[in-house]
């Protein structure tokens, strides 16, 4: 399992900087927003956490359709399916590797974008923390989409369509918790804990669903 984690990390670093493209996409999406809504700093600081979250959500889904597709194309998926390691564990490890290589850089880049959005320090910290806790859920739930669309040659768009409705709870609680940290009356902890719970729930549901789909997508 460690071998798989290391291999996937190595691949994502060497395969032409997939992680960097994700970060670039994230920055571009967030940078385009002010051109749409205008350069009003007060407005930007108010919608900032939401914008950063949405940007991160889209960027996290960006490379996800390739999660199992590359394995299938070169035949590795066959060998992964044949082994006695539970397939759920294999999927979990692949998700972790994907998260470390592609989504963690987004979390690290988010403070910079927070500055663009004129957010204060507390808001930036809150967004970063909620992203750190909530983004694994996006990867896990995205793995189901990636597994379902594994046999489709151009599944990228379809994966996003299938996965985005399921990401609504993560987005809601991630953004709620970020706002709660800034606005006084709302407590920070309840939405944050629910976000954590959602991530843990998806950590189970995602790999189980993806493993089931991979077994059934075989040909």
């Amino acid at each position: 399992m460690t071998a798989l984690l290391l291999r996937d990390l190595k691949l994502s670093i060497r395969a032409g900087g997939g992680a960097l493209i994700g970060v670039l996409f994230f920055m571009t999406v967030v940078a385009v927003i002010p051109f749409g809504v205008g350069p009003d700093l007060n407005l930007l600081s108010r919608i900032g956490p939401a914008i950063v979250w949405i940007g991160a959500l889209l960027a996290a889904l960006l490379g996800l359709d390739r999660l199992f597709q590359t394995e299938r194309e070169d035949g590795s998926l066959d060998l992964l399916l044949m082994q006695e390691h539970p397939l759920v564990l294999v999927v979990l490890v692949k998700c972790l590797a994907h998260w470390l290589a592609n989504v963690l850089p987004l979390v690290i880049a988010s403070p910079l974008l927070g500055l663009f959005m004129n957010m204060d320090e507390v808001a930036i910290g809150a967004v970063m923390l909620t992203l750190l806790v909530g983004s694994p859920a996006l990867t896990f739930i995205g793995a189901v989409g990636a597994a379902v669309a594994v046999t489709l040659p151009r599944g990228g768009l379809l994966v996003s369509i299938l996965v985005l409705p399921l990401c609504v709870p993560v987005l809601i609680f991630g953004v709620s918790a970020s706002y709660a940290a800034v606005e006084d009356p709302a407590p920070f902890l309840p939405p944050f804990l629910i976000l954590t719970a959602i991530t843990m729930f998806f950590a189970v549901l995602g790999p189980v669903g993806a493993a089931l789909a991979l077994r059934n997508a075989g040909d």
Binding site: L162, P165, F173, G209, A213
Partner: protein, 252 residues
């Protein structure tokens, strides 16, 4: 593979050929009953007095509420069929959830459109991000996603298995989405929205509503059975065509 007797029996019962025979027998009765109930329901709906606050627009409820119920029930039917696909690998279950998805999308769309039409006079706007409307909208997107996935795959049995997984994952998620949307809604819009039907539903409104709900349910089953039948026929035709192509290749 040795299958237990129970499963064999179950398979016999749901054998496609038997299903077709059964469908041919009950469809006329079912459609007649549905038409009758719709006639009664619509008559009741238009003969009752309008609400003193909402006026005639309250009649939209008799279409809107049953459609919204059906949108949920259809997904449950699909989830059951999905279990049938994955656990018993039954071909009829494959066909069943594939046939149900467009129906569910249609009912959800009816619920959304009528809700929007109702919202214009009541709330003064075509769309509010009310918790119910929003959850139903997310449900609509999920239906469309499943339909898109089914259409994208050319091998029907694999498409059925894979979309069954997606249906089940979505089914587990629906309560979470509902809960989170409620949370989000109370956060952003303190309960200013008029609740559906008001606190007490008068018997006056309840009677036509129930009749319409039963009529809609029967309509769903009628359409579902018809859609399954069509799908079975469609697959038989394509099997025949493929065989014809093979045979021609052999002789040539």
């Amino acid at each position: 593979m040795t299958e237990s007797l129970a499963i064999t029996k179950f398979s016999d019962l749901a054998n496609p050929t038997r299903f077709l025979a059964l469908a041919a027998r009950i469809l006329p009765w079912l459609s007649a009953l549905t038409t009758l109930l719709f006639a009664v329901g619509l008559y009741l709906a238009f003969s009752t007095e309008g609400d003193y606050q909402q006026g005639d627009t309250v009649r939209i409820m008799y279409v809107h509420v049953p459609a919204a119920w059906l949108s949920m029930m259809c997904y449950s039917v699909m989830a059951l069929s999905a279990i049938g696909t994955l656990v018993w690998r039954h071909p009829l279950a494959d066909v069943s959830h594939k046939a149900a998805a467009p129906l569910g999308a249609a009912f959800t769309l009816i619920a959304l459109v009528t809700g929007s039409l109702w919202g214009k006079p009541m709330w003064g706007t075509w769309w509010v991000w009310d918790a119910r409307l929003t959850s139903v909208f997310v449900l609509f997107l999920m239906y469309l996603g499943i339909i898109a996935l089914n259409r994208a795959m050319d091998d029907p049995s694999r498409a059925a298995r894979v979309s069954a997984v997606l249906i089940l994952v979505g089914f587990v998620n629906i309560p979470i989405i509902k809960f989170s949307v409620d949370w989000w809604n109370t956060l952003h819009q303190p309960a200013s929205v008029i609740r559906l039907g008001g606190p007490t539903i008068d018997g006056e409104f309840l009677r036509p509503l129930l009749v319409m709900a039963v009529a809609f349910t029967l309509l769903f089953f009628t359409l579902h059975i018809m859609a399954i039948r069509n799908e079975i026929w469609r697959r038989r035709v394509s099997t025949q065509r493929r065989m014809a192509a093979r045979l021609a290749g052999r002789e040539g």
